[in-house]
C-alpha cells in the first residue's frame, strides 16, 4: 500500500466505525426524548468528551493552524479562552440546566427556555437564532468535510480529483446516516470515538512538528520572532484590541453555544458534572496542541524557505500531514480532522432538527408535530441537504453565517440562558430584546462589512449590547411570575 492508500484506509475505517455506532444507537432510540436528549442517560465520560469534541470543530483543526500561519500567536487567544469559558459554563449552568431539565423534561434548549420564561415567543426567538446559526455552521462543516475528503482522494492514483459535490455527498451520507438512525445517542458516542482520535492525533502531531524543525519549539518561535516580533507576541498581527475582544466573546460566549450546553441536560445524575468539568477542559487543551504545533511549524518552514508559501492558509494542516508525517500518522490525523468536523456537525444537525420539528411548531401552533421521531429523522436529512446545497451554491452566504454563528449564539443565548436561568428577575421581554439585538447587530455588521476601529470584534460589541439590554430591561420591567417548580429548581 502506498501513502495515499494507507490514509484512505484509515478514513474508510473511521467512517465504517461511525456507521456501526449509528446502527447500534438506532436500537436505543425509541422516542423523541432518546433522539434529542439521549434519554438523559449519559455518564460523565461520554458527556464530557462529547462537550470538548463538539467545541473543537473542524474550524479548530483546519482553520486554527491556518490562522496561526497567517496571524501568528494572536490566535492562541481562541485556545486559552476555552478553558475559562468552560469554567463560566459549568459554574453557571452545570447544575442549573440539569435541574431545570429534570423539572420540565425539555427535548431541546428552546423547550427549557419556554418553561423558564413561560413565554412561547422567547422559545421561538431562541429557536430561530439557533436555526440561523446552525445553517451557517453546518454549511461550513459540510464544506470542510468535503474539502478534506477531496484532498485525500486526489492523492489516490486510481481515484483522482473528484468534484466537490461528490465528496460532499459521500461524507454527508455517512454523517446523515448515523444522525438519522441514532440521533443524539449516535452523535455523542461517535463524539466519544472522535474525541479520543482527536487527542491521540494531536499528541502525535506535536511530536512530529517538534521533530520537523531542527531545534524544535524554541527554534520555531525564535525564527518567527526574528522575522516579525509582533507575530510571536501575544497579540499577533491583529493587535491587542482584536485579540481581547475575541477573548471576551469566546470566554463568555461558550455558555451560549447550544450544541455544547444542551449536553449538560443529558446526564444520568446531577453529580455527573463534577467529573465532566475537568475532563472537558483537559481534553480540549490536549486536542488544541495540534492547532498550535502545526500552525507554528508551517509558518516557520515557509518563513525559512523550507516549504513553498501556502496557496491558502487552510491548507496548513493538509500540507503538513501530506509532507512531514508518517503515512500511518497522516491516516490517524486525517481521520481526526474528519472526526473534529463531524463531531460538531452532528450536534448541529440534532439541535437544528429539534428547532424545526419541535420548537418552532410548538411556539407557532401550541403543540409539536405528531410522530416526532419520524419527523425528526426526516428533518435531519432535509437540514443536511439544505446546508449542503447552500454551501455549494453560495459559499459566501455560508461563510457569512459561519463567521457570525458563534457570536449570534453568544449574544442571544448567554443572557437568556446562562444569566436568565440563574436570575429570577430576568423577564421574557428582556430575553426577547436581547436575542433581537444580537441577531440585528451580528447580521447587520457582517452584511454591511463594518470593521470597528482597532479591529474590535463585531461579535464582542453585539454581546455587550445584548447583555446590557437584557439587564436594563429586566430591571425596568415588572418581576415575572415564576412557575413554582422552576423556582424550586432555581433555588437549589
Amino acid at each position: 500500500m502506498d501513502r495515499s492508500q494507507i490514509v484512505l484506509a484509515f478514513i474508510v475505517g473511521y467512517m465504517l466505525l461511525c456507521i456501526v455506532v449509528g446502527l447500534w444507537a438506532m436500537r436505543r432510540t425509541r422516542s423523541a426524548d432518546d433522539f434529542f436528549m439521549a434519554g438523559r442517560h449519559l455518564g460523565f465520560i461520554v458527556a464530557s468528551v462529547a462537550i470538548f469534541s463538539s467545541t473543537m470543530s473542524g474550524w479548530g483543526f483546519v482553520g486554527g493552524p491556518g490562522l496561526v500561519y497567517t496571524i501568528g500567536a494572536g490566535t492562541f487567544w481562541m485556545i486559552v479562552s476555552t478553558p475559562l469559558g468552560y469554567c463560566v459554563m459549568f459554574y453557571l449552568l452545570g447544575k442549573r440546566l440539569r435541574l431545570v431539565a429534570e423539572v420540565t423534561r425539555p427535548i431541546s434548549l428552546p423547550d427549557a427556555v419556554v418553561a423558564r420564561y413561560n413565554s412561547p415567543s422567547t422559545g421561538l426567538l431562541t429557536a430561530v437564532a439557533i436555526l440561523l446559526g446552525v445553517l451557517g455552521y453546518l454549511g461550513t462543516q459540510i464544506l470542510a468535510m468535503a474539502m478534506v475528503l477531496q484532498s485525500v482522494l486526489a492523492d489516490v492514483a486510481t481515484i483522482g480529483t473528484l468534484p466537490l459535490g461528490v465528496c460532499m455527498a459521500i461524507s454527508s451520507a455517512v454523517l446523515v446516516f448515523y444522525c438519522v438512525t441514532g440521533g443524539i445517542i449516535a452523535s455523542v458516542y461517535t463524539d466519544l470515538i472522535q474525541g479520543i482520535i482527536m487527542v491521540v492525533a494531536a499528541l502525535l502531531v506535536v511530536a512530529t512538528a517538534v521533530a520537523t524543525v531542527d531545534g524544535g519549539l524554541g527554534e520555531m518561535t525564535a525564527s518567527i520572532l526574528a522575522d516579525d516580533p509582533e507575530a510571536m507576541s501575544p497579540w499577533g498581527t491583529r493587535g491587542i484590541v482584536g485579540c481581547l475582544s475575541w477573548y471576551f466573546v469566546f470566554v463568555l460566549g461558550l455558555s451560549g453555544q447550544p450544541h455544547i450546553v444542551t449536553k449538560l441536560m443529558m446526564t444520568r445524575r446531577l453529580d455527573e458534572v463534577k467529573g465532566m468539568f475537568p475532563i472537558a477542559v483537559i481534553g480540549f487543551l490536549l486536542s488544541a496542541l495540534l492547532w498550535i504545533s502545526i500552525g507554528l511549524c508551517m509558518r516557520t518552514l515557509v518563513i525559512e524557505g523550507l516549504h513553498p508559501p501556502l496557496a491558502e492558509a487552510d491548507l496548513a494542516s493538509p500540507e503538513f500531514l501530506k509532507t512531514y508525517t508518517h503515512p500511518v500518522l497522516a491516516g490517524v490525523v486525517f481521520a481526526g480532522l474528519l472526526a473534529a468536523i463531524m463531531s460538531t456537525a452532528d450536534s448541529f444537525l440534532n439541535i437544528g432538527a429539534a428547532a424545526v420539528v419541535h420548537d418552532i411548531p410548538r411556539a407557532c401552533r401550541g403543540r409539536s408535530l405528531g410522530n416526532e421521531l419520524l419527523w425528526a429523522r426526516t428533518a435531519t436529512v432535509i437540514i443536511a441537504a439544505v446546508a449542503a446545497c447552500v454551501a455549494l451554491a453560495s459559499g459566501k452566504m455560508v461563510a457569512l453565517l459561519g463567521a457570525i454563528g458563534w457570536s449570534v449564539f453568544a449574544g442571544a443565548i448567554v443572557p437568556t440562558v446562562a444569566i436568565g436561568f440563574n436570575w429570577k428577575r430576568a423577564t421574557p421581554l428582556a430575553a426577547n430584546l436581547a436575542i433581537i439585538v444580537s441577531l440585528v447587530l451580528n447580521v447587520g455588521l457582517q452584511v454591511f462589512s463594518v470593521t470597528l476601529p482597532h479591529l474590535f470584534y463585531n461579535g464582542a460589541l453585539a454581546l455587550l449590547a445584548s447583555l446590557t439590554v437584557f439587564y436594563v430591561v429586566s430591571i425596568a420591567s415588572p418581576p415575572p411570575p415564576l412557575d413554582p417548580e422552576i423556582e424550586t429548581a432555581m433555588n437549589l
Partner: protein
Amino acid sequence: MSEPVTIDRLPLLLLIALWVTTLGILVSPEPEAGFSIAHARVPGMEQGDTGLQRHADTLTWSWLFGVTMIAVVGVLMIWGSQSRWTDRLGRLLLAATLVLEVIFTAMCWSYRQQLSDPTATTFFAGFPPGTAWQLYGMGLAPFLFVGLYVFFFRQRIVTEATASGFDRLTDRPG
C-alpha cells in the same frame, strides 16, 4: 450575616466599566499603518507593524478592558456557585480571579518590556515572556477554578440539600 453576591448590585458597575473601556478603545486614534499588514515576502501571510506604533494609544485601555472582563468572569462564577463574599469558596474564587488578573497584567507588562527591543528577548519554555504568560498562565490558570469546583462540589455546588431537592423533584427515593 452577609448577603450572597447578587447580580442586582454589581452588574451595573461592571457593564458601565465594560462600556467605558470599550468606548475608550474605539475612540482612540488608529495607527497609521493599520493592522493585518501583508507580509513583506510571503503572500497570504500577515505581519505586525512595530508594537509601539500599533499599541501606543490602546495598551492602557485594552489592559483596563481585560481586567474588567476578568472581573466579570470571576463575579459570574462566584454568583453561579451561590457563594458569599465571606464564605470559603467565595473567598477562594475571588483569590483565583485575582491570580488571573495578576497573570493578565504580567503578560501585558512583559509585552510592554519586550517592545523596547523586540528581537533581543529571552525565552521561557519555548516562548517569549508575553506569549509564555498567555499560553501557560492564561491557558492554565482556569484549572484553579476547576479545582475549586471539584473540591467544593459536595460542600457548595451539589450539597445534600440540592441532591435531596433534586430527588424530590423527580419523585425518586433518596
